[in-house]
Amino acid sequence: MNLEINLRKIKAISMKEFMDNVRNKWVLALSLIFLVLTIVFSYFGGATSGGSVEFQGYEDTVAALSTIAAMLLPIIAIMLGYGTVISERENGSLGVVLGCPVSRFDVIIGKFFGLGAVLLVTIFLGFGISGVIVGALAGFSGGLEYFLFMVLTFLFSFFFLGFSILMSTLANKRSTAIAGGLVIFFSGMIAGTILFGIWVATGGDMGAMLDQVMSGGTFELPDWLWAGYYFSFMDIYPMGSMEIFGASDFMGYQFDYPGFINAPYIFAWFTFLSALTFVSSLLMFNKKDL
């Protein structure tokens, strides 16, 4: 295995990836989408949960925002990453790049950095500017937690980006790469339902649970179910977002989380998953015929 890396070449590749997305206006468009989303959910989010139409504080804003972000960000990340290797393989430019004294590691690291920077910049611009606006109108209490929410949002979306780059590396056609990305997206969506289904099938009482939580009480779910939620990405991300604020919201209700459902673990989980996709992409691309 060739482990050579060259920072100058990584910089050139990552800058190209980033600037591609500046030129095609994706950076601007995504920043605006995140900004508008935050403002809309901060202002109108309270109304949908029985409150008034006014700017909410950070915690309520994140509560409303994180559920939609859990759907939107993976799609954006998959769109960013799925074609990055396979498209260049198909049009021959990747062969020219690797015909230069450039290692395959340089290429993959450059792509992760460049596309990761697109996510980082758009998330921190979009959510950051809107966060300042929300803070100015509703108070800056919880500002640090909101910042950590942005960090978690980046890690969450970076995992999907990494997975789509891995698919782009493995696939021999663009359609296969996007199909791979959609598989992880939909598996993240249905995992929670499957987990609850298994719980009910093995004796769990959904009716009792709903009665309990809707009357304002708490309900204990088995640890294996909570552990399984680490694989239900579209659930664990909003749970982590609320955990940052010290709230144990789940599906809009209060639950007693077991000790292993906490913000640092969820941060670590998405960091680990992102690293896993990164290392897998490096290893797979190193052996790939172009």
């Binding site: 060739n2 050579e4 100058r8 021959g92 020219v96 690797l98």
Partner: protein
């Protein structure tokens, strides 16, 4: 002049008569492969391929479509991984040399499209950065391939030929010691094809070794001093153009324009023992050994057939190519492909 007699350009003549053509050492092998193999699923794309490209060569890599030319080039550049054999670039085994073995190599793949949203100049600057060479030469190279007027236009707006020209400029970044070009004139109109050939000759005169694949025999015949013919992944022959042309079984043809009845001329020649005669109007072609030319003319004279003109046509590289790979490739459209 027969193709076997002399290479077609002064640079090759200079090379062949210079000290560079003296006995080669291992260090003079710019590309060397030994027992190279590669399979894709059930297909053996490259099979036990051993070839040697010497310093200063313009080396033509010939073969019908699907012969394994592009796969071989990708193997040499480590873009695909071999399942057997070894490759050396400048005497260094590519599996041991790391990425540095590709320093000083210019590569142009067949039908590369590059990045649609980068301008021509941005494309060259990106590759200059990757090659670690001075970006200031980018404008000069765009001018060299006639693309300086479109330096700030996006690649996505270019025709296939224009993209190819930017690709050529890219391959010349850093004044490479080895150019590897896969069907380089593909997509170029005759004018730019001529420009590219002149660039190749100029680079070669300055010491650059050129390895290029083509299915255009005239191109190879015009440019190369050495060639290899590949068919179904196997090396059929590797030698100088002269030796490849000379080593075939085809005889030279005596082409005669007669003033009288061509049918009568054919009868006379057949009676004299010549069988493979072709007729086009009043022009007849007879494959002959060099010692038989006077006999043909004598037979026609004895039959009282007037001879308006005659010439000897030496066997071409095309004849040799056909002889080596057989007629199968012709039916596959190889010779007619633009």
């Amino acid at each position: 002049m027969g193709i076997g007699d002399c290479p077609a350009n002064p640079y090759i003549l200079e090379y062949l008569t210079s000290s560079k053509s003296d006995i080669m050492t291992e260090n003079d092998h710019v590309i060397k492969t030994s027992g190279l193999g590669k399979s894709f699923k059930q297909v053996r794309a490259v099979d036990d391929l051993s070839l040697t490209v010497n310093k200063g060569d313009i080396y033509g890599f010939l073969g019908p479509n699907g012969a394994g030319k592009t796969t071989t080039i990708k193997l040499i550049l480590d873009l695909v991984q071999s399942d057997g054999g070894e490759i050396w670039l400048n005497g260094i085994n590519i599996t041991e040399g790391g990425v540095s073995v590709r320093e000083g190599i210019g590569y142009l793949p067949e039908r590369a499209q590059f990045y649609r949203n980068l301008t021509a100049i941005q494309t060259l600057e990106f590759f200059a950065e990757l090659k670690g060479v001075d970006k200031e030469q980018c404008d000069e190279l765009l001018a060299k391939v006639g693309m300086d007027r479109w330096r700030d236009k996006k690649m996505g707006t270019f025709s296939k030929g224009m993209v190819q020209l930017v690709g050529v400029a890219q391959s010349l970044l850093g004044n490479p010691h080895l150019l590897i070009l896969d069907e380089p004139t593909s997509g170029l109109d005759p004018r730019w094809s001529r420009v590219l050939k002149d660039i190749m000759l100029e680079m070669n005169a300055q010491g650059t070794t050129i390895f290029f694949s083509s299915h255009l025999l005239s191109e190879v015949q015009e440019l190369c001093n050495r060639i290899a013919i590949l068919n179904q992944g196997k090396l059929v022959i590797e030698d100088t153009v002269a030796n490849v042309s000379g080593g075939m079984t085809h005889k030279p043809k005596l082409v005669i324009r007669v003033s009288g009845d061509a049918g009568k001329a054919v009868e006379a020649l057949r009676a004299g023992g010549f069988e493979e005669i072709t007729v086009h109007g009043n022009q007849i072609s007879v494959p002959v050994e060099s010692t038989e030319k006077s006999k043909v003319l004598q037979l026609l004279a004895e039959a009282q057939i007037g001879i308006e003109d005659f010439k000897t046509v030496e066997p071409s590289l095309e004849d040799a190519f056909m002889g080596y790979i057989g007629n199968e490739a012709v039916t596959g459209g190889v010779m007619n492909e633009p």
